[in-house]
């Protein structure tokens, strides 16, 4: 097992000991990233509960843009398989979805199921374009553009300009799909896009499909829901899980100097934020390198070094991925479990020093 403390290679026991002492003395620790398999995410919430940490994910900007909208207006969603099989009109919202793997599948195949089976698939674009047949640059911004499309779909705006044409094509579709990236569109935009899908669904079928998502955020959302009853950004400082997307935003907490220790969980590789270097940190990462944090412990990558349940983008579900190249690297869940054991016996939480 590869492990480093302050840049120097060491063994597992020493690294776990160093990580435990870093977390034990922290007033407000944060467990961030959470890019890992379900077992490790569970272990992370368990550890957070024991040490009063708060939790944040690697892709929370996009996750909360979606959850915020979902909590208010609900969502009409499809899956990648349904979109590829049924959609005869696809509206690509913004630039990010053009980079998504699903786009090639949508371009390469015609709809094969349902009422649109066998017909051509039309690709429309708003905001940015690569190969769409109809494209609207939308200089006023994506959020505003989605609002304009919705006003057309409602019949409150009319005309045969570009947004009018796009709205007409969506209204005439058998199965429309609105492809978007939540982080790019933002909460207000996502809510407006859901409104557009709902307007169109009055007369035909139209669904939204979010692409991307950073890390394993889509696995964290259901796991945090079944463990805490809340969305991912929860804190356990007062022993019960409190959900507060603003207070437990890890980047904000670091910028405001509220955090004194961070545990970064990146068993599924994900880019590390630059604020990580500004606080004492422990990193459990698959791509272990000495400089990643103050204490670095290399863990197995689920689906490669060991089996694990991960978000399956293609099937839009949590599925088990067997180890493709088994190794003796420990799983992130087992390291988190060892940390928890060490911290529970080591007695945390005290009022020994003046609190203020």
């Amino acid at each position: 097992m590869a492990a480093w403390v302050k840049g120097g290679a060491t063994d597992a026991g020493t690294a776990i000991e160093a990580a435990a002492s870093l977390l034990a003395k922290a007033r407000a620790p944060v467990i961030a990233g959470l890019s890992a398999d379900v077992a490790a995410i569970r272990a992370a919430y368990d550890l957070a509960g024991r040490i009063g940490a708060s939790v944040d994910t690697a892709g929370s900007a996009g996750t909360y843009a979606e959850l915020g909208s979902l909590s208010r207006v609900g969502a009409l969603t499809s899956t990648p398989a349904e979109a590829v099989g049924r959609a005869d009109v696809v509206l690509v919202v913004g630039a990010a979805p053009w980079q998504a793997p699903i786009l090639k599948r949508l371009i390469d195949a015609k709809p094969s199921r349902g009422r649109a089976a066998g017909s051509e698939r039309a690709l429309l674009a708003v905001g940015a374009n690569a190969t769409a047949s109809l494209s609207w640059p939308a200089e006023g911004g994506l959020t505003e553009a989605v609002g304009v499309l919705r006003a057309h779909a409602r019949g409150h705006l009319a005309g045969d300009d570009l947004p009018g044409q796009i709205a007409a094509r969506l209204a005439a579709a058998q199965y429309g799909v609105l492809l978007y990236d939540a982080a790019e569109l933002g909460e207000v935009g996502v809510e407006m896009l859901q409104g557009l899908a709902m307007e169109l669904s009055e007369t035909t079928r139209c669904f939204t499909l979010a692409v991307g998502g950073t890390g394993q955020d889509r696995a964290v959302v259901p796991v945090s829901a079944w463990l805490t009853g809340q969305a991912p950004r929860s804190g356990f400082g007062r022993r019960v899980p409190e959900h507060d997307p603003w207070r437990f935003d890890a980047a904000r907490q670091v910028a405001a100097g509220e955090v004194d220790a961070v545990l970064w969980l990146g068993a599924v590789p994900v880019s590390r934020p630059d604020w990580l270097s500004r606080v004492p940190s422990v990193a459990l990462v698959a791509d272990g390198e000495a400089q990643a944090a103050e204490v670095v412990i290399a863990v197995g990558q689920p689906g490669r070094d060991h089996g694990g349940v991960l978000w399956n983008e293609q099937r839009a579900a949590l599925t088990f991925w067997p180890a493709s190249a088994p190794s003796d690297l420990p799983s992130a869940a087992s390291v988190l479990g060892a940390l928890k054991e060490r911290l529970v016996t080591g007695q945390a939480a005290s009022r020994s020093e003046p609190a203020c």
């Binding site: 207070r247 939480a349 009022r351 609190a355």
Partner: protein, 264 residues
């Protein structure tokens, strides 16, 4: 007048939900000092951070503010709280009555879900002032929010009732508004984005979304009533109504029963 004096900058965010004149009036000095206000496992208590002086009156003064003081005056139902400095998020959240005055700046989500009373911020307010928190049905819900300085983005997001008066406001002022009245001397881009009903009164504005349609200049009795109502809160805002006003109707993406009045 009871007084809490902050001794030093708080080492963590503090939650002052349970600190109000009514609650303190029933407690002894010792009991008040033992009230839990911490948000981490260290269990910070009121006496750890504040010097407490109680006189059982209905007025509480917090001397020395800090942006880490969350939920000051939250759920306040009667009495007055004055803060001599800054406060953190959710100032007066869910407040039902009474008066809350902050001499400094407020963090985000000031007056969220407040159903009654008056909240005054002499300095600036953060994003989502009078706006809804995550998963809440509505932002400001009947209270009066006065921001003398600048407000951040999403001022009055999803507000449902009540009045907001702000100096300047950022982008998306009055976004997704359900109902209510929002007056600002200047707002940023996309005022009223996604609003259903409600009234915005603005001096100047940034980019107006094409989903708002200009419906001309009107001289309505309602505007004079509004001017009278606003004059008690801010003469400057009431004066906006003395000028010829252009009316925009929207947001056409929704039921479009909202309106934005722009002082020319």
């Amino acid at each position: 007048m009871s007084t809490l004096t902050l001794r030093a900058a708080p080492p963590e965010r503090l939650d002052l939900l349970n600190i109000n004149p009514l609650a303190l009036s029933r407690l002894s000095q010792g009991e008040a000092e033992r009230l839990e206000i911490g948000t981490t496992r260290t269990g910070v208590r009121l006496g750890d951070c504040f010097a407490v002086a109680l006189d059982r009156s209905d007025t509480l003064t917090i001397e020395g503010g800090h942006e880490r003081l969350d939920r000051v005056g939250a759920s306040l139902s009667e009495g007055t709280i004055r803060v001599a400095g800054d406060v953190g998020q959710r100032l007066g959240a869910g407040m039902a009555g009474g008066s809350l005055i902050v001499a400094g700046n407020a963090g985000p989500y000031a007056a969220t879900g407040a159903t009654g009373g008056t909240i005054t911020v002499e300095g600036d307010a953060g994003d989502h002032a009078g706006g809804a928190v995550y998963a809440a049905k509505a932002g400001l819900d009947g209270a009066t929010l006065i921001i003398r300085g600048a407000a951040g983005a999403h001022l009055g997001d999803r507000m449902r009732r009540g009045t907001i008066v702000a100096g300047r406001a950022g982008a998306f002022a009055g976004s997704r508004m359900i109902a209510g009245t929002l007056a600002a001397l200047a707002v940023g881009d996309h005022p009223g984005f996604g609003m259903r009903r409600g009234t915005l009164l603005v001096g100047t504005h940034g980019r107006m979304s094409p989903t708002f349609v200009e419906t001309g200049t009107h001289d309505l009795v309602f505007l004079r009533l509004l001017a009278t109502a606003l004059r008690s809160l801010s003469a400057e805002h009431a004066d906006l109504l003395g000028k010829p006003l252009r009316r925009y109707s929207g947001d056409l993406a929704t039921i479009a029963k909202g309106e934005i009045w722009v002082a020319a």
